[in-house]
Symmetry: C2
Amino acid sequence: MQSRDIYLKRRPVGMPVPEDFEAVVTTLPALAEGEVQVRNSWMAVDPAMRGRMNDAKSYIPPFALDAPMEGPAVGTVVASRDPGFAPGDIVSSRLGWREAFNAPASALRLRPDVGLPPQAWLGFAGVTGLTAYAGLLKVAALKPGDVVFVSGAAGGVGSIVCQIAKIKGHKVIAAAGGARKIAYLKDVLGVDAVIDYKAEENLTKALARAVKAIGATGIDVYFDNVGGEHLQAALALANPFARFAICGMISQYNVTEAPTVPRNLTLIMVKSIRMEGFIALNQMEMEPHFLADMIAWHKAGLLTATETVHEGIDHALDAFFGLFSGANLGRMLVKLG
Amino acid sequence: MQSRDIYLKRRPVGMPVPEDFEAVVTTLPALAEGEVQVRNSWMAVDPAMRGRMNDAKSYIPPFALDAPMEGPAVGTVVASRDPGFAPGDIVSSRLGWREAFNAPASALRLRPDVGLPPQAWLGFAGVTGLTAYAGLLKVAALKPGDVVFVSGAAGGVGSIVCQIAKIKGHKVIAAAGGARKIAYLKDVLGVDAVIDYKAEENLTKALARAVKAIGATGIDVYFDNVGGEHLQAALALANPFARFAICGMISQYNVTEAPTVPRNLTLIMVKSIRMEGFIALNQMEMEPHFLADMIAWHKAGLLTATETVHEGIDHALDAFFGLFSGANLGRMLVKLG
């Protein structure tokens, strides 16, 4: 079997360009003992991949040059030389950016048939969902009555954060860019106030208006996907003892100059704010509760799985680039099979 | 009885100047029922008072104009019309910046005779000590093996943080400005590595050298009294899951332009760092354990009470201004009686 794989050819400076990557056709060798052959049906792209394109130390090693990149994928077992997997099984892996692969069984996770579409394992039932769930409930320690502010609210993680907060009965202020996303947040997700950051001169003033509009004094929880001006606004409008779950700072990833915001970091001290960065991989002990809740909420029709889908591996880079121009509503996926 | 009181006459812009204040002689009226008359023997000044000179919302209201300022003080009861207090009692209050006062009994706290000098209630046995204790043990959640970095380490709070961390067996890196403070940190407090920030071009490089010198890979706890470049260095050298207790940001208090550091805030996310601002007033439930530990450590000779003393209310402003030029070793006190 052949696979088209996307290789990282050189490390981007600032915003990545197509020339930083290359599509390479490989022929899969025969399976070794203990290996499994998988044809990917879906892969996902996310902003954190930008960090792995740099040669910088992080919680996860950088992508190697002249090798396929990695990322979340779900697929179907084609052949197996491991007793744990059989042809037809649905498996998830970190071996995205390729159409098919051979891998040791330990690199795969068998996904049970619980009535979810396969791409749900890349979305609300996968790491994306766990990021939203753990960030909101554990890191930000959501408690009754909290007013929740979410940036990047129409994205893969943000849209799930909004929904969990609404399911649990909270007032939610959601920020995103552009009329289409704002309409989605209001009409589909039913948040209480929206901020179109692309239409605002001053995000702090916009957040102050949103807080006032919902009859609140400030925000208690901030779920940060964006950083920069959004974080500055959140600090300005935070109530005492606010908790900030720092999930991403997409506004900063392609920045090559020194950031100048937030300028009001002393408010952390003045208001006894807690800011905590986290990654879902360190929250795996929550997974049983997370999956139970997500599957129940999905069955109950409370959870909308929002996806922006590109077709074919040749469009995987378009999907990735689109993250930084804000092209995605919900999770950004590439359909491969 | 007469008292000289220090009034705030106008709100400072940037660094306060003597003209922002005025000494006013008042004659205390006769005591009303339920009131107590106190002659202050000591008052303390601290950097947080700068914030209260602004007309800005904070965890504590701003100082009123044309009225005596407030601050920690300890004194002796002269007369009492409340059954809870008798002449000769040692009491602490927030009614500093004055030589004597009448106040309702509820504004006073009776301090027991446990063998401490009276000014200890303004230092290691008072809010200063509780700030160090709660910040290090609860907010930063110090655990065995943690490498501790302290900025403003030779100050009132910082010097106690260093000592608690050393008593509990930790490696401590201490930053302060000038040879006298550095010698004190090494020779008196016995910290493991020192950084004279006034002698360093690049604090991040200096902290990296200090980390290496003690055989560590990074810092696990940062106790921040300074903010700015110190915070940036701490972010750069933080180990994953580091906890930052944000106690003060003295580098930022008189800044009138937008701060440009830290520039590396995305590391909060990359390293799953927790940053938490706090004030001791919200940690009062720790006080019984705090006092027991402090009195025991003091009796055991493990705790050095370091004080910089100015004599007389006429020098109270010198003491306050000295905080911002880094003139104090340990707690900055004014002896009044």
